[in-house]
Subunit: 350 residues, 4 copies
């Protein structure tokens, strides 16, 4: 950590800073410039906070030099991590497209949705049983019944399932239904008690980015999970909140290369929530793949117009299939490929 | 709700929209302009979502005309609501200043903190026992021990307590310690399961604004609590996230008059978290009072430099007292006053 | 335009609104709902502003139904516009990569830069002679000398030039040097006098997006140019300002499909300024092409480390060439191609 | 400047950084920590840019230690600067309220506007003759005719005038009309050629904050003016752009104490543009005064509903007068006062 003293800091104030650093067990380097004295703390600065020094008289600013995250950092783990979900790899050369509806509605809708997802070649299925909705007066998800419908529909096509966990008290239920990948939603990215709980589990976690979370905060949220022992974390960019009102969120495509540099963990993208409109999904999905994403979470629905939520952002089964084909072409242009199952491969695995 | 058709929408597409509105039990008004056909849905549009229509062919845009919130809306409840916390009124003519440390540390620190809060004339005390921290490696709060220290220190000065609830599983503990006001923090503003739980309780709730929450989302989060039966909700503006990096957050002072117009519930401000530096607190607190806030949540600590978290934003007991005096002068300039207890009043109530 | 009355609006207030609409020459549709009266103005609402009505007693909100832009709107001009710059097409199936340094420094640097641009197959060259710099104490560009160096270096490889105009008083100089494409920078997107001046010229204009400009404001800035008679406008997305500090700007890739839907004019991307680091450029450039951009503006420099400004964001000539190859592969994956000149084609055209 | 090396930086890379610092004429301090080597550049780092180092191999990050601004910095000029406009002081103990309409419309409107401004006790008048409008199809201001009407109306009440300059070519006209204070608008805060020109003049300048300008960029824009020799600069906060859509801008009240700490120059606030609605103006104006602003720029109009632009944000003359009275009470609560002229004082000065 670097502590910059004000231009009228006294020697006693510099001494106090030096003493505080030494008390924390770190060593000190004092550099006296023409306009400023700069004090460096040498050692594991993760024990120090900027506020510890910025509250001291004579201090102008304290600046971290080391990254605050460790387990998730590529700095300490150079190779890409590949996470295996019942034999389906996430991370590495092959990209996964995870399809399925925003919310679970009926067994029939789920049966058709799973069929569409499988026929598009996808190897994982998503569906929301517990829905975080802005209004208390709108549909909140089918809950446990929804989990059951999702499980059954996906099993028929041998698709591992991804679904959102909102409440720590539902963890046992998620285990009972053997949910394959637990999704932590945008609004819960900094629900630290929830992060700690999934950190104790042995299930892969998709961690969506908070609406206004910085890359650093997002990595720290993952570090919460990792610190509990669960290192199977998948980052999911889903658009950030900005001043722009022409679309729901701004898909932050830059986050992909930046995260891939900062962490060894896989990074996927949810273009459906990012744009908020079905017609934007193909362009955003293609951009995600071209920028290096390890997968996509795409909303699909057998009959989007009749969907109970986010009706305007789901693709039809046909659109999903067509998009997966294009994504594979783009992936190949940069030396990767979409990991697709043919119907026969699926049958053979049965 | 207003549905604007695209300039090349067909009659059949207009008809489909009209049918969908009627199916939802509302009436229809079709207005045919020179460039656009506009369809109005007449009735309780809270049943409709914009996506229901924006996914239909030929529709350009659907726009809500009614506000999505109801119980918290001033539109249906014209008079200001005053919330009573063990005899201390929040809302109405008198302003409350809620003092106390960011986090509970030791019995001695809490004893001195409570003394400072009482001597400044404050009638409520705050203190964090469960701390939402960005890093899993920093101090996470003393938990139940902290609740106990807060309760004891505050009781000695007859100060009702305000403290943050992060985890639904802690609700019984909060009841056991008879926490007087439950604070829902910024990162949990849209933790809907938590909102539903506090909605079932009979305890006043301070609902902090999410870091990037719009006024409308904030009101809807309150509506979640209210829909459960608990109408004792206090909004707390604490700064929003913007592009500016010179201070931690941007204190959105405009939210005060806007909320006061939209809702009948009290609105307070946390200038300590908004600015992030103790030296900014007086100016921001004064601005909040001048803009019409019903109270303030101010961090104070017997020895800020030694605080275990946010050391650079707490006021000393002396600074707190001085600030409360100035705030009262400003409150009086706009026909209000700070509700302060003299030592004798406090003793008399004992 | 739709005018929503407050729930306690009087008949007289509704009448006043109706009268005001009729005075402006539009027709009126009044829809009386259970909770609100909604007044529709039928006709060319571009004459009306929301403030005209929102200042009237009893009015809650006024909402535009029509888009405020006309000449640049795809609604009135369905086919893509292709702009020709000395025989080089911008827009249409072929993508242009415009290479060159951030700032013009020396004749030798420009000679090498032009060579690198040409060898990468690019058909247009960029270079800044007038530089908008945040600090008055940093290099402000070589000015007219710089224009001369750019012109000479580019001419040697038959590359039309793109350069930024900051000051209306420099227009004649730009004409004297026959600048082929005039760039309007981010900080001048709403310098309306400058927009009006380039609107009177017969030169293609690259209009960069303002740092916090909405899509609608950007289209309106283009409409300023178009209204003057110059319809050869190229939109250039270069990243927007958000709360994120891990990179200079957030490249708003969603703007590409949205603009392509709203306007018939070409849309290019500047990935160098968007990310601010050379190592991010390939990923962002690939994403831009995959999302449907019509071209790219990429900083390249014979020796990036020695560049006089933005040293950390320029590609070397070799990196530029390698990138253009990959971009072409991605373009082909979506049925387009990068428009590249081979050395022989360049020689033949001489 | 502090240069942080990556954790695998080689000795040769460190050496290269050291050499580059020395070549720029600064001295070097190398601090070798357990995880990082940190190189300090000692001397006037304003010659260095972060990019100079961040483009070098092995460098992780370069961080400025000194502020980039100098003339406007309080660090080098401790006392508050008071700017005198024809005998009216801006800065210091007394606050100025500058009233007047958004745009100049007719001689009669201006006569009534000036009367209202004078009767409210204001000592300066504003009015826009050149209007920056988002759409080319809306009223663009009366131009020179408007300047004339403003001058005449204000002269009748001995009110110095404030008006916006958008185009460098209008400078001579502004001098011809003896405009007393030149306003640089939000959209031109980084129109550097315009800043340089007003920097050469001997007229006070009001520099409005850019819509998404950081405090640092704003100070640097002022430094552009100051570097030209004109030190009479008044900062004007007018709201920033954020994600919030319930009001036009977010009035950044924190900017007031922060600027007052960073610069010795006066800071005023435009609450009319910040909120965008007349009913918000009183609360925002009161907050500005309570937070320490040196003045206010408030839109007033003899008949707001009929105003040609921003009709919904102007106060009536009566509202302006009432507000000025309240502001004075708040100013006095913090030991200041609003500088008001009584009718007799105005007459006596004639």
């Amino acid at each position: 950590m670097i502590i910059v003293m004000g231009n009228d800091a006294s020697e006693a104030q510099v001494e106090a800073v030096v003493r505080k650093i030494r008390e924390a067990g770190l060593e000190v380097n004092v550099s006296r410039g023409t306009e400023r004295i700069v004090v460096g703390a040498i050692g594991d600065e993760r024990k120090l906070t900027e506020e510890m020094f910025e509250s001291m008289p004579g201090v102008e600013q304290a600046i971290h030099v080391l990254k605050p995250y460790k387990i998730v950092a590529r700095e300490w783990h150079r190779e890409d991590t590949v996470i295996h979900v019942k034999g389906v790899p996430i991370g590495g050369d092959a990209l996964q497209v995870i399809g399925g509806p925003c919310s679970v509605e009926t067994p029939e809708q789920m049966r058709l949705a799973a069929k569409g997802v499988a026929e598009a070649g996808c190897r994982l299925m998503r569906g929301g049983a517990f829905k975080p909705r802005t209004s208390p007066y709108t549909f909140q998800g089918l809950g446990i019944d929804g989990l059951k419908m999702l499980r059954e529909a996906a099993d028929a096509y041998r698709l591992p399932i991804v679904t959102e966990l909102m409440d720590v008290r539902m963890l046992d239920t998620f285990l009972a239904f053997d949910v394959d990948v637990i999704q932590i939603g945008t609004r819960n990215m900094q629900n630290f008690d929830l992060l700690k709980e999934v950190g104790r589990m042995k299930k892969p976690v998709i961690l969506k980015r908070g609406m206004a979370a910085t890359i650093s905060e997002w990595l720290m949220a993952a570090e919460y999970i990792a610190a509990g022992g669960n290192h199977d974390i998948i980052f999911c960019e889903r658009g950030i909140r900005t001043f722009e009102t022409a679309y729901r969120n701004v898909f932050d495509v830059t986050a992909i290369p930046v995260l891939k540099r900062e962490t060894h963990l896989p990074v996927i993208v949810d273009p459906s929530h990012a744009g908020g409109k079905a017609w934007m999904v193909p362009a955003l999905a293609r951009a995600a793949v071209a920028a290096g994403a390890d997968g996509l979470l795409i909303e699909s629905h057998p009959n989007p117009c009749e969907a109970w939520c986010d009706a305007d952002q789901a693709l039809t089964p046909q659109e999903l299939k067509g998009l997966v084909d294009t994504l594979d072409t783009i992936a190949q242009a940069i030396g990767r490929r979409v990991d697709r199952w043919t119907p026969s491969a699926r049958a053979a695995a049965a």
